[in-house]
Amino acid sequence: MAERYLEELTKIHDAVKQDLLGGRINLLLGWEKGHYWWQSRPLFAENEQDLERLTWDSFCAVNLSRYLLEELKDYQKIGVLVKGCDSRSFNRLLQDNMVARQRVVLYGLPCPGMLDYELLTATAEAELESIAEQNGIVVLRSAAGEKTVEREQLLLYKCRDCRYPDPVVYDQLLLAPRGEKEAPERYKSVTKLEEMPADERYTHWEKELSRCLRCYACRQACPYCSCRECFVEQDKPRWQGRAYQESENFLFHLVRAYHGAGRCIDCGECQRACPVNIPLQELNRKLIKDINELYGQFEAGLNADLEPPLLTYKPDDPAAFSEK
């Protein structure tokens, strides 16, 4: 069993209950425990009864903003619990005109970073029975006994280099803010790949992408993939072939990443959703890194009023090719 952050949960519960019962919102998007104790899946709460299943623990990694796209079709006013990355996703959707701000109530939850179950079991070296957390330390309990590990080392890949654990947009901040963080190692793997010779890099991606099942879970989880018709399903012209081969896998992943150029908020939901662990964040981060280098520092999703870099230009922009 994973323990919930009880004190915080009570606070959240009280705040949203008041709004849901008072009619300020018709639906609350939150988390509930899934089939396993190490899963927290989205909760769609319409009434007090549903709300009792609400949870807030170290496994609430699912980005809830993305669910607004579907739910806004059926509900007039929706409340969403947003962590730092969820709030930046919300800005992303807002900027793409996919959601109406006045129909959404955002409850901000500064996030401690979510835990990676695979990493937990790997560290425990046995099947986990439960975990307990205190002051940045996680106690892993398994048949092999107890093991104490620093919480920082057990975070999901997407949380490890998180710079903005606090929501950047919200109507109500329910917990105490945690402040901005540094992410010195954010581009570490990208730089490592950049230094490889081209052929070696191709072989690397060939290996990684060969696992791709083209389930498109990365797209489904992604807050920038909000097109009503995605290029992979488009029939005329049919960009994405259905064949299972390296060439089509490359096409899909390059284009998927490129569609996020200047728009990707680096929330890492794609990589977390990937059933075969393709390091998709490296592709996204490569684009973020380059655009920052070439066209100035830009962090997507921080401010919905700032235009994404690829939608604008300056006459004296540099180029990555010879302009002579």
Binding site: L193, R201, Y202, Y258, K286, I291, L294, D317, A319
Partner: protein, 152 residues
């Protein structure tokens, strides 16, 4: 494009796809022709209304279907017929070029050049240069569609 997959006597001849903007580079190519300059026939020109029209998927599709190199040519910044098309494509294609290289393509495989309609000589030179570079690199097998490899 299958006919363009030309295998000549000594085995391999590069196929280079050049996307040329209608107003500058394509006209530059025209000028090269009317001025009787020659450039390698390995370059197949595809005319696009503007370099900003170029969907980066065109480039990937070209690689899938047999191109050994891809060139995008447009008006010089500031000279776009649609005022800002090439400013946008400069940003887009710069980041796209870096992404393509990150995926493992050699930097020479995908190039962008600004060629104006009065630069027939530059057009011929650039085509000559890219053909030379691709010949030196050899055939491209990266991202090639497996079903196209047998088409000769």
């Amino acid at each position: 494009m299958s006919t363009a997959l030309n295998n000549n006597a000594d085995g391999w001849d590069p196929l280079i796809v050049a996307f040329c903007c209608n107003w500058c580079s394509y006209a530059g190519g025209d000028l090269a022709g009317t001025s009787r300059m020659s450039y390698p026939a390995n370059v197949k020109v595809i005319r696009v209304p503007c370099s900003g029209r170029l969907n980066p998927m065109f480039v990937l599709r070209a690689f899938q279907r047999g191109a050994d190199g891809v060139l995008v040519a447009g008006c010089h910044p500031g000279d776009c017929h649609y005022s800002t098309g090439n400013y946008h494509s400069r940003r887009r294609l710069s980041s796209f070029k870096r992404l393509v290289e990150f995926a493992g393509f050699e930097p020479e495989r995908f190039e962008v050049r600004w060629i104006s309609s009065s630069e027939g000589d530059k057009f011929a030179e650039e085509m000559e240069a890219i053909t030379g570079k691709i010949k030196a690199l050899g055939p491209n097998r990266k991202m090639r569609d497996a079903r196209w490899q047998n088409v000769t």
